[in-house]
Amino acid sequence: MTSEVMGEAKFEVDPRQEIFDQLDGRHLGPKWMVPIRKSAVARFADAGFPTTKDEDWRFTNVSAIKELDFKPLYEGGDLGELSSVRDRSLLRSVDTCRLVFVDGVFSKELSDEPASIEGVYVADLRSAFDSDPLYLQEHITRYSQSDQNAFTALNTAYFSDGAVIKISRNVAVGQIIHLIFASTGKETGATTHPRNLVTVESGASVTMVEEYLSLGGGAVTLTNAISEFVVGENAYVEHVKIQDEADNSYHVAGIYAQLERSSRFRSHSLALGAKLSRNNIRTKLDGEGLECVLNGLYITKGDQVADHHMIVDHAKPHCDSHEYFNGILDGQSRGVFHGRILVRQQAQKTDAKQTNKNLLLSDDATANTKPQLEIYADDVKCTHGATIGQMDEAAIFYLRARGIPHVVARRMLMHAFAGEIIDRIESEPLREQLDQVVWDRLEK
């Protein structure tokens, strides 16, 4: 009986607020972070977890995350058993510069020493707080702050590690920077709050990967990650996010990008794992003549839910934004696409495109799709389209009539459908490897 009473008491104040009060300087980071964190907790307290009554969360119920124990991790996992982390990466065969985080904490032992290139700064956040505090003070949390999102607020309150990538003017980074966030899954409710900051100055270019994976501990965990991007004038960023966490885990991620004049930002999302995953992608097109491509593929089965929620904010004229999301849904799984395009009054000559296609492999799979346009300018081109369909039986018969067995024919069609997304990855080694990953997944 006692425990029941305690249980009720516990939920009057959300544990995420209570635990915050127990944090000390070791957790909070530099002094200037403290007010930012406090206001984030206040924002969380104010907003609370979203419910399906919130328009932006209509299709995705996060009550299971709310009920989950909350154990923010500040210590990395035990390294003794973790030598296989790099081998678990879906990109193990690709030549990348790896930064490995175990249970949210940077592991120097498992990471590559970034090549020392003039104008390229790649570090873990804790080191960066010491070595470059002014830079962090200028950027970190600045782009995500405006979002009244409980998960973003929680990340800001609790984050303790992540990657910092700073590319100076006109530097083209040849190496693929590869962040691996591995969850050991040893403790129920273990929660990590990775926080990444990527700033690319004018004329510079970089390709980077964020990869989330589980090491098989089996406990239910939550990853609540944020990445902030600043893409300078004429700069180019290709960003690939791979989410392949254990199928009982929860994954929420925010991507906030501030895009300057004539830049190109391509962000690809591959959602394969987790029981529930949600990506909040917010891009601000804040200079003329830039291009923003958001491109995603989700492949789900069982009772998985994969949700992508985008807000593309056209603030300046002559910008192109394209969103392409394809889902392959099996079992009772669900794919959610919610894309909002906001075209502000001065953003004339905007060309905004949105496409969401879903392939349902079973009678019980569901796709929810909600394209949304909010246009205040009068000379713009905005299109959106969504399709939900099943395997094309005529195409399967055609392939079979040429001798291709049924399972192979199905796989070829699924692979072609996935290929529409994978083919947009410009980095050839990433594209080829992910194409293989998808092909292998479709076999199962």
């Binding site: 018969f397 055609y398 009539a401 040429r402 291709i404």
Partner: protein
Amino acid sequence: MFKIQNLHAGVEGKDILKGVNLEINPGEVHAIMGPNGSGKSTLGHIIAGKDGYEVTEGTMDFKDKDLLDLGPDERAHLGIFLAFQYPVEIPGVNTTYFLKSAVNEVRKARGLAELDAVEFLKFIKEKAALLELPGDFLKRALNVGFSGGEKKRNEIFQMAVLEPTFAVLDETDSGLDIDALKVVSNGVNQVKSPERSQLVITHYQRLLDYIVPDFVHVLYDGRIIRSGGKELALELEERGYDWVIESAAQPV
């Protein structure tokens, strides 16, 4: 080699084929003609093994195997080929890749080694030239954006590549102009050999000037009501179908 006996088949309880008998020996070319809705395409689909048809009576054998027990891919492995009346567009599946998969699946089923990439490419380029297909089409997605004529040529090209022992050509001539028809017919005739047979389904006698049949059959209301030599096609061209239908309806 190929034998149909008393075949009855339909869709959702509606009979389409009502007792078809047909026997085709190695090296023979048979033509099936008949008015719209007589069951010609259904017969082609059933030979290839398309789902959705119910065979209620009769048999269909190929090289002493019961075809009705086999899926479309297994029939293709045995050497059956259907040139589609309406070839399907398949976005995202590259034509070369598709052909390579098809050829290798057929070879695998016959216990042959897979072709290596260089050999294969050389082989299909020769065949493509035969059908006068545009140079880039091997790189394009299967049938996507192809004109009607290109799609038909692609069908015969695939036949030339897969070298089937028994090919069914379902209205391959429909929609082709005379020049394209010559190219397609030439492709078909190149594949001909004493071991290989063809069943040509068509509306128009014109095709049979180029692909000369040994036998012509008239299919009407789900039955073959008359069979003859190639001169029957000419007679049909001249007189239409009514006289055949009427004479079939007369009591013997």
